[in-house]
């Protein structure tokens, strides 16, 4: 049982980079410590270089528990691109705040190793390990500003809810193992298929418990409570990581368990997740309306986004391969489309926050006059999050609606109805920010916005990507649609 090193090359590269970063950080001192950032970036680029050749290949190793196919490649690329973006917005932020740079980048890279594993994992055990690999560094990163009460509070909330949900999930896994005798996803699917139409409630309960573990990760209502507090307390790049990459990892895991392992019981979990979707997007948007703190606003908005991404899950049906296919494609597309603007929004936040500590909506007053580029970028990102042109966010919403229309049943239209209502509500607060930036005067004596070259470039790249993908959504959709994702899953 030889190990296919090509298949795990990206993970290996990131691991090596993480170790190198840790070592280099020991060696360097003072301002030179910040060089670990480009180092990590190079590692990420190399990892991308090892990931791209995997496109079009179906590989599997570790006894079939680790699978690399196009679906996994797409998600890995999303992770690596977001890693690059997060590195971009982290550089100045951490270089100037002078705490634990090496550790931060190490933790970040480790967390991403977990993420890279997630879409490839085809065993509950590997999924669990991957999840923990994502989470545990996250707990630490959330509390990285260790002299900050908010940061430690963020960490402890994140940690407690995290371990609780993992405990629940593990309990579910143990029960599932008891019922099926296997932890392999396809094995579980086979076993479940034999239960027919009347499974014991305990089996369904364990199924739901497993889903809950990922529900925490994607911050679905009611497992979302940690998210706003943690985002608000964490360093902003960490919040970006949690909102984007960590959430994507959660979705990757959720896709794996639901569409592969629990596919025969789609009639149980699909409506459950559909209802969660409704609650998640509605609550996220409604509470976001009231936020004054930009990070919290983005946090709630990302809760709401998770709700949108959950909609396709609500459409799934066992045995209906085309519908499930469309659903997975929609979710993956949405994730891809959501990554760029969301990191970008946090990036602008970093730019404004840098040196001034500004983070409330009022602090964005007159940004259009103070720093037109950043205001323009933020506008683009917010429009994309809302789903308005000229941004890729429009296609994200399009994809969800397409999946809904594809399913075409009543519940699908109910979900779409809530999607529409929520899109409107969401724009209400996105536009509020836009309004504050462009149509209000800056307060007297405001600090200037000095994003620095690095951050500006990253932001520009993200704006460019957001708009480019609007013009040519095929760049993603062709990738997501060309491969048979569901078939590729198993």
């Amino acid at each position: 049982m030889a190990i296919d090193f090509a298949a795990i090359a990206p993970e290996l590269v990131l691991t090596a980079t993480a170790i190198v970063v840790l070592l280099v950080d020991l060696v360097l001192t003072g301002g030179a410590k910040q060089l670990v950032n480009p180092l990590a970036g190079i590692g990420a680029l190399v990892a991308i270089g090892f990931t791209l050749p995997l496109w079009g290949d179906d590989r599997s190793t570790f006894g079939g528990t680790f699978v690399v196919n196009d679906y996994a490649v797409v998600l890995k690329l999303i992770f690596l691109v977001s890693l690059l973006a997060i590195l971009g917005i982290s550089w100045r932020y951490f270089a100037e705040s002078r705490f634990f740079q090496g550790e931060y980048y190490f933790l970040l890279l480790v967390s991403f190793i977990g993420m890279l594993i997630m879409p490839s994992a085809r065993d509950l055990l590997l999924l669990f390990v991957a999840l923990e690999t994502v989470s545990i560094p996250g707990f630490v990163m959330a509390g990285l500003r260790k002299r900050d009460l908010y940061s430690s509070e963020a960490a402890i909330k994140f940690f407690l809810i995290g371990v609780l949900s993992v405990a629940l999930m593990l309990f579910g896994i143990s029960m599932m193992y008891g019922f099926t005798g296997t932890t392999s996803l396809s094995g579980i699917a086979q076993e479940l298929g034999q239960w027919g139409s009347s499974p014991p409630p305990l089996l369904l309960a364990s199924l739901l418990l497993i889903i809950v573990g990922f529900g925490f990760k994607i911050s679905a209502v009611p497992f979302h409570f940690w998210a706003p507090d943690t985002y608000a307390g964490s360093p902003i790049p960490v919040a970006a990581m949690l909102a984007v990459a960590s959430k994507t990892a959660g979705f990757a895991g959720l896709i794996a368990v639901t569409f592969i392992a629990f596919e025969p019981f789609a009639e149980v979990w699909a409506p459950a997740l559909g209802v969660l979707a409704i609650f998640t997007m509605s609550l996220g948007n409604l509470v976001a309306l009231q936020q004054r703190d930009m990070v919290r606003l983005l946090a709630w908005s990302s809760v709401a986004q998770a709700g949108y991404m959950l909609i396709p899950f609500g459409l799934a049906a066992s045995g209906a391969a085309d519908v499930n296919e469309a659903a997975v494609q929609a979710t993956v597309f949405y994730i891809a489309a959501y990554t760029l603007p969301n990191i970008g929004a946090f990036g602008v936040l970093v730019a404004v926050n840098r040196r001034s500590g500004y983070r409330s909506i009022e602090d964005f007053a007159g940004l259009g006059a103070r720093h037109p580029f950043m205001a323009m970028a933020m506008t683009t990102f917010l429009l994309s999050l809302g789903g308005a042109p000229p941004t890729v966010g429009l296609w994200a919403k399009f994809a969800i609606v397409q999946a809904g229309a594809r399913a075409g049943d009543t519940f699908a239209y109910v979900l779409l109805f809530f999607l529409i209502i929520n899109s409107v509500i969401a724009f209400f607060y996105y536009l509020k920010v836009v309004w504050v930036m462009w149509m209000t005067e800056p307060r007297d004596g405001m600090e200037p916005v000095t994003p620095g070259v690095n951050l500006s470039l990253v932001t520009a790249a993200l704006v460019f990507g957001t708009v480019l993908l609007f013009l040519l959504p095929g760049l993603i959709s062709d990738a997501t649609a060309a491969t048979d994702l569901v078939a590729g899953l198993s």
């Binding site: 669990f128 545990i136 002299r147 407690l160 609780l164 405990a167 008891g178 932890t183």
Partner: protein, 103 residues
């Protein structure tokens, strides 16, 4: 040995842990309650392996339990660090006090 004994024990342990997480205010005790829950999971896994799925060649349940133990250790390590940091910051490990951020 029947399966029922270990399962009831595990369920009991899990509920105790859950209660601890919900009700204890001391962060360390909350951490320990989490450990209880994880151990309940371990009991489950091992019990199912040995009493129901004995012919599993790779002994999935036991292997899984090992992983859980390791991860739990890591979690507790991180958790204690976080609690410690919190104590340093506000001289309290009462998790009720951690409500700076809300709404």
């Amino acid at each position: 040995m029947t399966l029922i004994g270990p399962l009831v024990l595990a369920a009991f342990l899990f509920c105790v842990g859950l209660y601890g997480v919900m009700a204890r205010r001391n962060a360390v005790l909350v951490l320990m309650s989490v450990e209880l829950m994880l151990n309940a999971v371990n009991i489950n896994l091992v019990a199912f392996q040995n009493l129901k799925w004995q012919d599993d060649p790779v002994a999935t349940g036991q292997v899984f339990a090992l992983f859980v133990v390791v991860v739990a250790a890591a979690e507790v390590g991180v958790g204690l660090a976080i609690v410690f940091n919190m104590f340093r910051n506000r001289a309290s490990i009462n998790i009720d006090d951690a409500d700076l951020m809300r709404w």
